[in-house]
């Protein structure tokens, strides 16, 4: 009796690719807010959208892809919620750039998110412990 055939299909077929992609996308979406706000917080001067995207790419060049275009709705919502402020900065190399700075409220929120992230990460690591 061979019951391993379906398992092998799941680990290598198109369905497996789809599931893996979904899992990776879910993980990425769940942390996008956190890393975007952290990137803005770490910058020494106001940063524009392309710069944020580039920083994220440099931080993890082989990670799960989040397209640049999906960052802007996040930045827009963050601004509406008072986590960041934006200013339009003229540029000699192209169109004016909207640059973002974290607000004190944004820093407070980021602190809460980081604490939660570390807590969740610890719990997940504990659950994953022992799996080869």
């Amino acid at each position: 009796m061979n019951e391993s055939a379906p398992d092998s299909d799941l680990s290598s077929g198109p369905l497996a690719d789809s599931i893996n992609e979904k899992a990776q996308r879910d993980l990425a979406v769940g942390t996008t807010w956190l890393v975007v706000l952290a990137t803005i917080a770490k910058a020494s001067s106001p940063v524009h959208g392309y710069e944020i995207a580039r920083s994220l790419s440099h931080a993890s060049p082989h990670g799960v892809g989040v397209k640049h275009g999906t960052l802007y709705p996040i930045l827009r919502t963050m601004e509406a919620e008072g986590l960041v402020t934006s200013t339009l900065v003229p540029s000699t190399q192209g169109p004016a750039r909207r640059c973002f700075t974290i607000t004190p409220a944004g820093r407070d929120t980021l602190g809460g998110w980081i604490a939660s992230w570390r807590s969740v990460r610890g719990q997940v690591d504990e659950l994953l412990g022992g799996i080869p």
Binding site: Y50, P61, V66, G69, P73, T77, A80, Q93, W113
Partner: protein
């Protein structure tokens, strides 16, 4: 998690446009975005296109090939989905939260949903419910107080424009004119936010960059600004807004004054001394006994005042919606995008 910058194979659409100039590639991608967002709120689409255009030109100015920048920006459908999702969460009074982080630990508890108030219940009452509609009041306030803003816009634009045109023979007139165009775009955008707050109609939050300035020289940029239809529309809006604001101010100020008089005069009369109703020689003013309005007529006056003000609120809400749609249409107008690029 990361943003994809690794050298993945280009998606088909990006590859399709890889042979064009940056302007062609970006314009084609923007047209793809516009097609993917067809039928959605014009202000949201405007903001999305403005973000995309600004980002792509920033990437190109950093030396990234346009087709690569487009590929990194994402498939049009994915980008539209991200905006729609953000738009759905707008105005719900909830703290944006990473999905993996428990809400309670972020904001000290689950954000409360907006409570039902007596006003929200009253809003459901037919006809009279308009008294509890904040956008009806907001529209009326916009039409009354926006009159003064309209005067200010008109004075600044005509004075600045005259100065720019008057000095056109000298070189200084061109930068002055470009400055005026930029000023008008910013003021139109800011006025749009005021319209959104008062009428509730979603207005653009971004103004699209002037097409093509990313790669142009200083004088080239001035030429592009002068050729940019959106900027001239903004100027036309600020000038054309003046007579409209005068008309709206006249109508709504008059209606409000009339309704207020009819509504409150019978009440105010109760507290007025008798001598106010005499001409100083013992003759009563007005056709009624003692110069005062009879109680039944006073009651009718109050009902009429209430009806006029209720009608004025409905009219203000309708005019506010119409005014916002016109302002939005002006702000979201975009130049016709470059058609599909032929691969060379």
């Amino acid at each position: 998690m990361t943003v994809s910058a690794s050298p993945d194979p280009l998606p088909p659409r990006a590859a399709e446009t890889a042979g064009g100039t940056p302007t062609q590639v970006i314009s084609y991608y923007l047209s793809q975005l516009a097609v993917a967002a067809a039928g959605m709120d014009a202000a949201m689409v405007n903001d999305m296109l403005a973000d995309a255009e600004q980002h792509l030109w920033n990437a190109v100015s950093e030396g990234v090939p346009a087709h690569r920048a487009v590929a990194e920006f994402g498939e049009a459908a994915d980008v539209v989905c991200a905006y729609v999702a953000a738009e759905r969460g707008r105005g719900k009074g909830r703290q944006p939260t990473p999905i993996v982080v428990p809400m309670q630990s972020v904001s000290g508890g689950v954000a409360p949903t907006r409570a039902e108030t007596p006003l929200t219940g009253f809003r459901a009452v037919p006809v009279l419910g308009i008294w509890a509609d904040r956008y009806a009041w907001g529209s009326m306030a916009l039409f009354v107080f926006g009159f003064f803003l309209a005067i200010a816009y008109f004075v600044v634009v005509t004075a600045w424009g005259s100065l720019a045109l008057g000095t056109m023979a000298m070189i200084i007139g061109f930068p002055l004119l470009v400055g005026l165009l930029g000023f008008c775009r910013v003021v139109s955008l800011a006025h749009g936010r005021l319209i959104e707050v008062t009428t509730g109609v979603r207005m653009p939050r971004r103004t699209a960059p002037v097409a093509g300035t990313g790669m142009a020289s200083f004088w080239g940029r001035i030429g592009l600004w002068l050729k940019d239809g959106r900027s001239w529309l903004s100027v036309a809006f600020l000038i054309g807004n003046f007579p409209v604001a005068v008309l709206l101010f006249t109508v709504f100020f008059s209606l409000a004054a009339l309704a207020k008089s009819l509504l409150f005069l019978p009440i105010a009369e109760l507290f007025m001394p008798d001598q106010w109703f005499e001409d100083g020689n013992g003759f009563h003013l007005g056709p009624w006994q003692g110069g005062r309005v009879p109680p039944l007529l006073g009651l009718l006056s109050m009902v009429l005042g209430l009806a006029i003000f209720t009608g004025a609120l409905w009219l203000a809400k309708g005019c506010g919606w119409l005014y916002a749609q016109v302002a939005k249409a002006i702000q979201v107008t975009r130049p016709v995008p470059v058609g599909p690029v032929q691969v060379v």
